[in-house]
Amino acid sequence: MQQTFGLAAHKLGCQRGGRTIFRDLSFELAPGQALLVSGPNGAGKTSLLRQIAGLLPLAAGELHLEGASPDHALPELCHYVGHLNAVKPSLSVGENLQFWSTFLGGAGADVRNALAAFGLAPLADLHAGLLSAGQKRRLALSRLVAAPRPIWLLDEPQTSLDAASLELLDAAIGAHLASGGIAVVASHTPLKSKFAHKLALGKERVR
């Protein structure tokens, strides 16, 4: 990990289609800390992650990076792994990851380790279209390792992962935090990795 950052949110607000999803949301993450975002369906977990990734405008409040020179744009420091996997069925598993690695600014070398990190190495030459749900998910997660970035935004990363892969995921997150990275994870089911902060969204919202 090159440089480490802190991430702070101050009184964030989120609106979608005119409805206020949440407001006055604040948190601070020092390097090496992780935030667990939980909450009922529709509480706004995905929305929050998309705001951090710069995909959704902030309705209120601000986000800022501590220890970042002005030329650092927040989204370019983030890995966003959403509900969708960003996997191309007609490319091989290896080609998929290779592309993302280069595009997200990783060194090509990392690809093999990244696949190995999620037990996909043996499937490297398989068409990604043939992967099962969990295998696709793991391919998406391997992006995290293939291109080192200080901030990870994970939206229900465990979706359809088997026990063994969960271990691998925890290991990856652990390593990332250890090296001074930051992780924001939206999840319903608990993860082993220790979270410095927990954020429970929308207790009061429509379930």
Partner: protein, 222 residues
């Protein structure tokens, strides 16, 4: 730069893999040209007369319809979300994708046109200008299509809506393209002026379209 090249390479690879998109566009072009005379009747003089127009219209359709999914696939499988987090500005991403579209569609279509010209017995001496004008005009076609594709992103039936939005924008390209080709047949006017107009249109599109497309993509993603 590495990013742009990687993206270009990926898109070309996908275009090639996914149902030989190139071949399909060509096939479509061929079919449209082949069935029109069945509608219009076999009169060769008539066909020769409308040949440049037919070829251009069919080319516009082929290019346009293949542009329908220019961003669609990346949007549906979540790739677009990740593409925005890259170091490459979104406008550059859009530009690269339009470029890939031109390479995989515009160029092959332009090169196929003379062959189809034979079917409509377009005089041989017109062929070079036909191809030239098409090569000069198709970048505008691809990049403008990019705007449309980004505007219709995520809408159902986007293909047709796209055509509806974009075809009117193609009117200038169509007019100058046909003018260049038919000037070469009938004369006396020189084909140069319309040809240069086409180049101008393409340049303008290459510069401006990606910016518009990027803006549209942002709104589609939120």
């Amino acid at each position: 730069m590495r990013e742009a090249l990687a993206l270009l390479a990926r898109d070309l690879k996908l275009a090639w893999r996914e149902g030989g998109a190139i071949g399909v566009a060509l096939g479509f072009y061929l079919v449209v040209i082949a069935i029109t005379p069945l509608g219009l009747g076999p009169d060769l003089n008539l066909l020769a007369r409308i040949a440049p127009g037919m070829l251009w219209v069919a080319l516009l359709l082929a290019a346009l319809l293949s542009a329908g999914r220019l961003f669609e696939n990346d949007y549906e499988d979540g790739s677009l979300d990740v593409l925005t987090t890259g170091a490459l500005p979104l406008a550059a991403v859009a530009a690269v994708k339009c470029l890939a579209h031109w390479l995989t569609t515009g160029v092959p279509l332009a090169l196929l046109a003379p062959v189809l010209g034979l079917l409509l017995n377009l005089p041989l001496e017109a062929m070079p200008w036909l191809v030239l004008s098409m090569l000069a005009g198709t970048p505008a076609v691809s990049f403008v299509a990019g705007i449309g594709a980004s505007l219709t992103l995520g809408l159902r039936r986007s293909g047709l809506l796209l055509a509806l939005l974009v075809l009117p924008l193609y009117v200038p390209v169509l007019i100058f393209g046909v003018a260049a080709a038919s000037a070469a047949i009938t004369g006396p006017a020189s084909p140069w002026p319309p040809f240069l107009m086409l180049c101008a249109l393409s340049l303008a599109a290459i510069v401006l379209a990606p910016i518009a497309a990027a803006a549209a993509l942002r709104t589609a993603l939120r």
